[in-house]
Amino acid sequence: MKSTLKLALGLASATLASTAVSNVAHAEDLTLCWAAWDPANALVELSKDFTKETGIGMKFEFVPWTNYADRFLNELNSHGKLCDLIIGDSQWIGGAAENGHYVKLNDFFDKEKISMDDFVPATVVGYSEWPKNTPNYWALPAMGDVVGWTYRKDWFSRPELQKEFKEKYGWDLAPPTTFDQLKQIAEFFQKRQIDGKTVYGASIYTERGSEGITMGAMDVLYSYGFQYENPKKPYEMEGFVNSEKSVKGLEFYKALYDCCTPPGASNSYMGEGVDAFKSGQVAMHMNFAFTWPGLQKDENVGGDKIGYFVNPKGPDGDQFAQLGGQGISVVSYSDKQESALKYIKWFANKDVQGKWWSLGGYSCLNSVVKDPKFPSSQPYAQAFLDSMAIVKDFWAEPSYAPLLQASQKRFHDYVVAGQASPKDALDGLVKDWTQVFQDDGKM
């Protein structure tokens, strides 16, 4: 009886002790917040190495893109402790820095000898710096991303289609290098019967709720000559945002939407674009590069059937692409900042970055992307590299949300609903953005 009692007590103590130990271990777990998408799954896989090396467990909070900004900006604004690390969108950097949501990383980078010169310059400016082009770092470039295009290589290479296209347009059916060419190809495929199915020209961004149509329209407008402000006088937008070239660019985007998108594609963003391409509905597909590894692996449209091309040139030969992607930051309200910084140090490591790319993430480290083997490492690697060299980004001001809402409304009203003219839309945008900056006391 006595021995049974001892055994029971022993077991109870052992259980208590193990619970206490596991609680201590869990107390050290870090929570990383990001969007729910393919690269996030790659990061989960990658982070297992971090846990193995340091004993620090990783938990993840992934939110779908449509709610990503709402959810995590609310979390930051309410000084929540959910996220120790956050991979925040590039446009949040101004607000997050000025409102004290992110830990400034300059001292940490100096101490750990992490140099921003080791990263692709566009990603440092886009994801890490605030104010822009100053050495004030709030994030480590984590996931390079840019808007580019995929196309149905198998359709483009069909002799009968090539012949018909050449006869109609006078040039070879091939990935377009200008937007005019892109529209011609899209028109050529629109409502065409291929393998007994009706297909359409292109899938482009038209989403109204978050940032979709702005990302898509800007991707075209930049190459048409759109500028956010007078380069010599910050916040002066008249004649830049609504310049004649910008008007032409917006007109083109509407024409592309009207002529060559699948029926009902009036609220289409990343997910809808992928669905349209995967289901064999469209010949070309505008989307962020993060979608490419998944499409490449797709049984129906991947492999040899898919090709990639950089955002085409505008009428004057200008060529830019909308920057996507994010940097990883330490949340200033976290109680585990030390462990979170350990993660950043580990993530900046060259080998880890190499593995990140191989798992499907887009590394921003020069040593990875400038490796001679990089362009041939994946079929989309060259298009990604070329695209990252021509990026431009939306406002990253603390007031980015109202700025984005204004462009969402103006662009959707014109492009999808066909209300007013492109000039009216852009004049209205200047008015809205001026109001935002006046409210902020910047004008």
Partner: protein
């Protein structure tokens, strides 16, 4: 048994506490019982209302808690009332409220009148008709989005079958002309049963002897409908209109799921604009002022309407 228990409790109560309780008047006791509810109401209803009124006079932004809050006086209200987009959103709301109420009242009353005939299987059909009302708006919004889908949606194919228009041309949610009607159709489909239920209660409350008297006077069915059925069911119809009017004035979920306010701003009702200003643009002061304006508008209209309803009931 109950008295004995009460006596035991009274005896067990310590003397100082018993003295205190004996000193409480009936009114005091009543206040004691309702005070938790009042406190809860003050905390979750009244305080936020007054806080929102205060914020509506400021430039406060919830995403910038460290910034100095400036008093703007009536500037937010002036800006809202002078903002063309706000007026367009109000017009869209009015259009939506008018058509949904009209259709739901006409169809709901007709269904109630038919169900009231008590034909064979009327209980079964009543249950079937009530099903849409029992569904979650999130579910309804999502599956109607698929039904409206021009390439695979049943609605597009049904329209195509009836009219000969190719289904891919039936773009209910993408077309500027059709999108507002797409929402009206879904809301009518979902909430007509609710109006029907209230109207049915009204029809069933009409005493049978009035119809018997009318039969004796040889009043035609048409005459009975206009002189008995409709006037006596009118307070119930008006009540249904009031409930649906208030609900639809603040409609958000269905519109958000079906169109998100698009295409463009075609279906952007006031509540969508309010949400965008409050939680996407983070103009907390501005959106508080807008919320107050909406509250005053609904409150004022509802009050006028209730007075009219009381007059009808007194007739």
């Amino acid at each position: 048994m109950l008295n004995r228990t009460a006596d035991n409790v009274a005896r067990a109560t310590p003397e100082p506490l018993a003295k205190k309780i004996r000193g409480i008047s009936d009114k005091g006791l009543a206040w004691l019982f309702i005070s938790p509810t009042i406190l809860l109401l003050l905390a979750i209803n009244i305080f936020p209302l007054f806080w929102a009124i205060y914020l509506s006079f400021t430039n406060y932004r919830a995403n910038r808690p460290n910034e100095v809050v400036k008093n703007l006086g009536l500037a937010n209200y002036r800006r809202i009332l002078g903002d063309q987009d706000i007026w367009i959103a109000m017009q869209t709301t009015a259009h939506f409220v008018f058509w949904t109420i009209l259709l739901q009242t006409v169809i709901g009353f007709t269904l109630a009148w038919l169900i009231d005939r008590k034909f064979r299987g009327h209980a079964f059909w009543t249950t079937i008709i009530l099903v849409p009302m029992m569904l979650s708006p999130a579910v309804v919004g999502n599956f109607w989005r698929f039904l409206y889908e021009p390439q695979i949606g049943l609605f597009a194919y049904a329209v195509s079958f009836l009219t000969g228009i190719p289904p891919t041309n039936v773009q209910m949610l993408s077309n500027v002309e059709l999108a507002p009607w797409a929402i009206v159709i879904v809301d009518t489909w979902m909430w007509t049963p609710y109006v029907m239920l209230i109207c049915l209660a009204g029809l069933r409350s009409i005493p049978e002897y009035i119809y018997e008297a009318a039969e004796v006077d040889r009043a035609s069915n048409w005459r009975q409908f206009w002189s008995i059925t409709l006037p006596m069911a009118l307070p119930f119809i008006m009540l249904a209109v009031l409930f649906r009017g208030i609900e639809n004035f603040k409609m958000f979920d269905m519109v958000n799921l079906l169109t998100g306010g698009g295409p463009g701003s075609t279906t952007e009702v006031a509540s969508i604009t309010l949400k965008r200003q409050a939680f996407e643009s983070w103009r907390t002061g501005y959106s508080s002022a807008f919320a107050i304006i909406l509250f005053v508008a609904v409150f004022g209209l509802a009050n006028i309407y209730v007075k009219a309803l009381n007059k009808v009931k007194q007739r």
